[in-house]
């Protein structure tokens, strides 16, 4: 490789092994940077069809930009159990666990999935690079940690027909694969791993493969998936779906404790709605003491779902002589939340849910305002003027179809 080539414009961003296909399919030529990769925001000129693919057909997303690490060795289980807040000791081979991890002050660093590939071998995924943190905490442990980000390519196939498509491609049936489990199989002669996971809150799978096999897998999926409505899908549609599913996004809904430059920007899992994933009964893990203390004094913040109530919302717009102004994509600008005149929180992302026909948002609010059905106010601008629109605390996920976790047999 000549050195000048390495610093040429086209190599300054990462390109996924699927780029050869995605770049040709991307009619809108709209891209977003995701972990230094070029990632399609939407393939068609609008993202609507892609959104509905997630909820009614099958959406195919290139999720290669996820950071992935392999942790292996005799202490791999003990190490991961100390690293993350969930109980890895009960994670069986073939099982996947979604978990946050924290610094010693109990502030969340990142969240992702831990896949148990074999007894002593795990894959952990994350939104931001975490190699330094993982290595640092592995001191004294008999484990090897390797960066798998580029050595494994991955696709998400999400939507009601996703199982049918995979059954058409794979040598083994997916019918018995349970939610948050994974299996190894083959697409003709290509070895792939399939996990029943995703970021949409729908029936869906993630497919893990060697980068060299990426194009063949893509082509096969598109071919076999055609009758089932497979649709290459970008980040706009995904963002809407994940909000409906009530799933948090690093750097949007919270800031990693490793990167927050002030204390108040850090959040604990309790403050991010992930209290269920903090297993305080575990022997010891990073942040345990702080989280115990936080739990006993009650967290200061909670992360909740909000529904912006339709009638007052419509009325505010009507007053200005306008139809209700709905966002056409998911937004991620911090928006003040009030209780009366007092600001009690801020929403970090929100969207109009076309499937639910509700205007929903995810918000940080002070704990005392986090109870279901608490009446709050959401700040919005109607024709350049700030208004407060009534909003109600509701349970997440906003959208939670039974098919997400059920099996046909």
């Amino acid at each position: 490789m000549s050195s000048s080539k390495r610093f040429a414009a086209e190599t300054q961003l990462n390109l996924s092994p699927f780029f050869e296909r995605t770049s040709k399919l991307n009619e809108s030529q709209e891209w977003r940077r995701w972990s230094g990769y070029l990632s399609a925001t939407n393939y068609e000129l609008t993202h609507e069809n892609e959104y509905f693919a997630i909820r009614t057909k099958a959406a195919l997303l290139d999720i290669t930009p996820l950071y992935k690490y392999i942790v292996e060795g005799p202490d791999a289980q003990a190490f991961l159990d100390r690293l993350v807040t969930r109980n890895i000791n009960i994670c069986k081979v073939g099982q996947v666990m979604y978990t946050p991890w924290c610094d010693e002050d109990g502030k969340q660093i990142d969240d992702g999935t831990v896949q148990r590939l074999t007894q002593d071998r795990f894959r952990i995924t994350s939104a931001e690079p975490n190699l330094e943190w993982i290595n640092h905490n592995a001191a004294g442990m008999d484990v090897t940690i390797s960066d798998d980000s580029k050595s494994t390519a991955s696709l998400a196939l999400q939507g009601p027909t996703s199982r049918d498509i995979l059954n058409a491609c794979a040598q083994d049936s997916l019918d018995t694969l349970k939610f948050f489990w994974m299996m190894d199989t083959q697409f003709s002669d290509i070895p792939v791993s399939i996990s029943r996971t995703g970021y949409t809150g729908d029936l869906g799978y993630e497919i893990w493969m060697k980068p060299d096999d990426a194009l063949a897998v893509w082509d096969l999926l598109l071919e076999k998936g055609k009758p089932f409505g497979i649709t290459p899908t970008g980040l706009h549609a995904l963002d809407m779906a994940r909000i409906e599913a009530g799933l948090i996004l690093l750097d949007v809904d919270y800031i990693s404790a490793r990167h927050a430059i002030i204390e108040s920007r850090k959040s604990s899992p309790f403050e991010l709605g992930l209290g269920w994933a903090v297993k305080l009964k575990k022997k010891d893990f990073i942040g345990k003491k702080a989280l115990e203390a936080e739990k006993s004094r009650k967290p200061e913040w909670k992360f909740v779902g909000l529904e912006i109530e339709w009638d007052p919302f419509e009325k505010l717009h009507r007053k200005a002589g306008l139809p209700p102004g709905l966002p056409c994509t998911a937004w991620r600008t911090s928006t003040p939340i009030y209780n009366g005149k007092k600001q009690v929180g801020y929403a970090t992302s929100g969207t109009w849910s076309p499937i639910l026909k509700r205007y929903i948002a995810l918000a940080h609010v002070k704990s005392e305002y986090a109870k279901e059905n608490t009446q709050l106010h959401f700040e919005l601008k109607v024709e350049h003027f700030r208004k407060l629109s009534p909003a109600r605390v509701v349970k997440t996920p906003f959208f939670d179809p039974e098919r997400k976790r059920s099996c046909p047999v």
Binding site: S3, S4, F7, L13, G36, P129, N130, E132, I261
Partner: protein, 527 residues
């Protein structure tokens, strides 16, 4: 003319701090006269057309530390301040390179190419240093208290600082303590592993000082260089359109706008002191000017050992000033080029030429350069901080030609046998030879070469020992100790005689800060 009061204040030296003080005093309605010995203003911040068509930033070459409020309050953009960002830092290596650019993804990937750990650490390092930079701002913006006999206002300033430090986290305080005491190499070793990255970053800990990256104390200098901010972005370096001289010109125009008189080619021979008070200045040509107060923008040695009679000063103060460490350690080589330099590691044109180029492939390279200087020689293979001003501002050179500014370390002032023409040229050769290792075509494209040694800086710019910071930025020469304990608040033992150069708190660099703070102090006590 003696006896007739013409000015409220006379400022000795038309360097950027003297001009800044003049502008602030003028702004407050004072009638100010600035006297500059040379034919150009700006002191060490000058641009000169040494060879026809080629403009050299003879001495200082980049701007980052200029205080935003000075720029605003003196309306400098209106008077010609135009800072162009330096986009990247390139470290050429044998067969490879390291480049850091303004894009964080690109920088992450580039560093990760060498070390993944470092790429992640780098993303945390910048913000952490930014926070530390912010946390020391209050010190920089405080007039250094009298540590011997603190006044009430000194005590309240100290209390404020104490409160501020108590508000820091233990981690920030830890970093700060380390930065104040460690070597830049030791500090960086705690974060990074890829040596060219560490060496290049550590280089900002040696610029302008007589230390190597492994010398304790160099971490502070690194922090000093991190405190710069342009448009709110920390550690953003800029090049002034027209060269650093244009910064001085902008301040001069601002000062004139506020009513200051600025005279060049007026060399002050001494300050006239009567009954322990400064009453004016005498020029070398015999002229005299009188004023209520006299302010020196010169370095402490000039200010106290040349401009006034030692007998007018307390003996222990004279000792302190004599003990003030000013050790010139850097030289400058300015090249007029027939074309662009062609780097082996990144041939041809490209955006790597729009930024800084650092010849700092390893700690050993820097330390060996320092070893040469430590034992009384110029570096055979020096460290260099290079920019190509003509890429950023085409008016710096004739069309198609270029100027290259090489800041070089080390060139000790106290070289064995002293500096002479032969040594100067040998030093210039060492620079070009070192450069040729990474830029093979350099010798073919050099049209003219200007070599500036610390001895030249002393004779031309009046910088004692050629020190660009008017005194080492070592811990014992900062804050209440700069330039001497008890006299760090811009006052001097002589009534109505003040100081405002880089030899005062908060120190060197094109900051405008000593000038601004001195003016504010003076206005505060002016009856």
């Amino acid at each position: 003319m003696p006896g007739i009061k013409q000015y409220d204040a006379i400022i000795i030296g038309g360097g950027h701090n003297g001009l800044t003080a003049a502008a602030y005093l003028g702004r407050a309605g004072k009638k100010v006269l600035v006297l500059e010995r040379r034919h150009v203003l700006g002191g060490a911040a000058v641009t000169e057309e040494i060879f026809p068509g080629f403009k050299f930033t003879v001495c200082s070459y980049v701007v980052s530390l200029m205080k935003p409020n000075v720029m605003r309050e003196l309306m400098l953009p209106q008077f010609g301040l135009e800072l162009l960002p330096l986009e990247s830092t390139l470290t050429p290596l044998d067969g490879d390179y390291l480049i850091r650019t303004a894009d964080s993804d690109e920088t992450y990937r580039e560093i990760a190419r060498h070390s993944r750990k470092d790429a992640e650490a780098y993303m945390r390092f910048g913000p952490a240093m930014g926070q530390i930079g912010m946390s020391v701002r209050p010190i920089l913006e405080t007039i250094a208290p009298n540590a011997i006999r603190p006044s009430l206002s000194d005590l309240s300033a100290l209390k404020k600082l104490l409160n501020h430090f108590q508000s820091l986290s233990s981690e920030q305080f830890e970093y700060l303590t380390k930065l104040m005491t460690m070597s830049s190499a030791d500090f960086l070793d705690e974060w990074f592993e890829f040596e060219p990255l560490k060496a290049t970053m550590s280089a900002s800990g040696i610029i302008g000082t007589f230390m190597g990256p492994k010398s304790p104390g160099s971490a502070y200098v690194m922090l000093h260089h991190y405190m710069g901010d342009i448009d709110g972005a920390f550690r953003a370096w800029g090049f002034q359109r027209g060269g650093t001289g244009a910064v001085s010109m902008a301040i001069a125009r601002s000062a004139e706008h506020f009513g200051a008189d600025i005279m060049t080619e007026k060399a002050v021979s001494n300050v006239i002191v009567k009954n322990g008070r400064a009453v004016g200045v005498a020029l070398e040509n015999g002229d005299e000017f009188s004023a209520d107060i006299v302010i020196s923008g010169l370095d402490p040695k000039q200010t106290f050992l040349n401009m006034v009679d030692e007998n007018d000063l307390p003996a222990d103060f004279v000792d302190d000033i004599k003990n003030f460490r000013i050790r010139g350690s850097s030289g400058k080589v300015n090249l007029a080029l027939d074309g662009l330099p062609n780097f082996t590691c990144l041939p041809g044109e490209g955006h790597h030429l729009r930024g800084a180029i650092s010849i700092s492939p390893s700690y050993d390279h820097l330390e060996q350069a320092y070893d040469d200087a430590k034992y009384g020689h110029f570096s055979q293979k020096p460290f260099m901080d290079i920019i190509l001003p003509s890429i950023l501002d085409p008016e710096m050179a004739p069309p198609g030609k270029h100027v290259m500014s090489c800041f070089v370390q080390y060139a000790p002032y106290d070289i064995k046998g002293g500096w002479d023409d032969t040594k100067r040229e040998a030093f210039g050769d060492a620079v070009v030879n070192t450069l040729a290792r990474y830029v093979p075509n350099i010798k073919d494209i050099i049209l003219h070469r200007q070599v500036v040694t610390p001895a030249d800086m002393e004779t031309t710019f009046g910088l004692t020992e050629g020190n660009i910071f008017h005194g080492e930025l070592s811990l014992q020469q900062l804050f209440s100790f700069r330039p001497a304990v008890r006299w760090a608040d811009y006052t001097t033992p002589i009534k109505n005689y003040f100081q405002c150069g880089s030899g005062t708190h908060p120190g060197g660099g094109i900051t405008g800060s000593p000038g601004e703070m001195a003016a504010k102090k003076i206005l505060g006590i002016w009856k």
